[in-house]
Amino acid sequence: MGPGAMYVTITSADGHEFIIKRKYAEASETFEAMIGGPSETPENEPLRVDMKRYQSHVLQTVCTYLIYKVYYTNSTTEIPLFPIASEMSLELVDVANYLNC
């Protein structure tokens, strides 16, 4: 709970919440700045990030990508393809640009 929390809750435009480990969220420079900055959340509340500009189907892909990125950035094993559906690519490039990840 609070600034030292291990998990981050990301809320989407359509009311979904994604809970991921802080270390994966921090793979995005924007998330890192949002989480690491002066926190207004009281000690006993989980860390929350407001992504209410974006739909849940896009944020779900973002969360999967952040885990993929953390796992394969420091690994020298073969990297599998990260599939991006062309129907999602326009929304995803917008979020990716915002999140810098």
Binding site: T73, E78, L81, F82, S86, L90, L92, V93, D94, L99
Partner: protein
């Protein structure tokens, strides 16, 4: 001197595969990074594959080519596991078929048994450094010589489903190539999305119709300004030059 590619990337570690080479290639030195071709005399073409699987990542490596540069073909590039690494003939082995993509010291690119002019022939008997940049997201292979970028050599590599590996080969006796630098970079989500979008959108006009902020449209159109000529095969089924 131009800056190295992947300057924000990290060091990578791989080497020549001692179990995946011609008998006429000997591997020496720390980490077996020195490839020595035809130690006694040469009666054919010999190559070796690197241990790094390149697909879906961005990698850069440099080869220190020793002073002995001569002969039919000394080649640098990539290939699948099906690319041949030995033949009892002097030939442009890397790129003789669809399993390899190579640049020869004569400045020619080879793939699918076809070749095209790419850069000036290397000066014989003058040591040089060849850099290879593989981008598994945009699907391109780019060469560098002594720090100068020579331009995109091959495209469409992101459509290759089989694993791709670095490969070098040579027809000439006692020639040597040393892996001197290896870097890798993790391709960000934005670049990955751009690669997917540009498969569907091929003109600036189509791009302008998309509902995206101007800043992002500008970012998407950057590769479209690429003025490097697409790979044009000049001679069909010519196997040696």
């Amino acid at each position: 001197m131009a800056t190295l590619p992947l300057r924000h990337g990290c060091e990578d570690h791989w080497t020549w595969n001692r179990r995946d080479r011609s008998d006429e290639v000997r591997l020496y030195g720390p980490g077996l990074r020195v490839a020595h071709f035809h130690p006694n005399w040469s009666s054919g073409t010999a190559g070796v594959r690197g241990t790094r699987v390149l697909n879906n990542g961005r990698y850069y490596w440099e080869l220190g080519i020793s002073q002995r540069i001569f002969g039919t073909s000394m080649m640098f590039g990539i290939g699948t596991r099906r690319a041949r690494l030995h033949v009892d003939a002097f030939t442009n082995l890397l790129g003789e078929d669809e399993h390899g993509w190579g640049l020869s010291h004569k400045g020619l690119l080879w793939h699918g048994g076809r070749w095209t002019h790419y850069t000036k022939p290397f000066r014989e008997n003058e040591a040089t450094t060849v850099g290879v940049l593989f981008d598994g997201i945009t699907g391109t292979l780019t060469y560098y010589k002594d720090g100068t970028c020579l331009g995109i050599a091959f495209k469409g590599l992101n459509d290759v489903r089989e694993p791709l590996y670095p490969i070098v080969c040579s027809t000439a006796a006692k020639t040597e190539m040393t892996l001197t630098l290896m870097k890798r970079d993790f391709v960000n989500l934005q670049d990955r999305c751009r690669a997917v979008i540009l498969k569907q959108v091929s003109s600036q006009a189509q791009l302008d119709k998309l509902t995206l902020p101007p800043r992002i449209k500008g970012y998407l159109s950057e590769p479209m300004a690429d003025t490097v000529q697409p790979f044009q095969p000049v001679n069909k089924y010519v196997n040696s030059v």
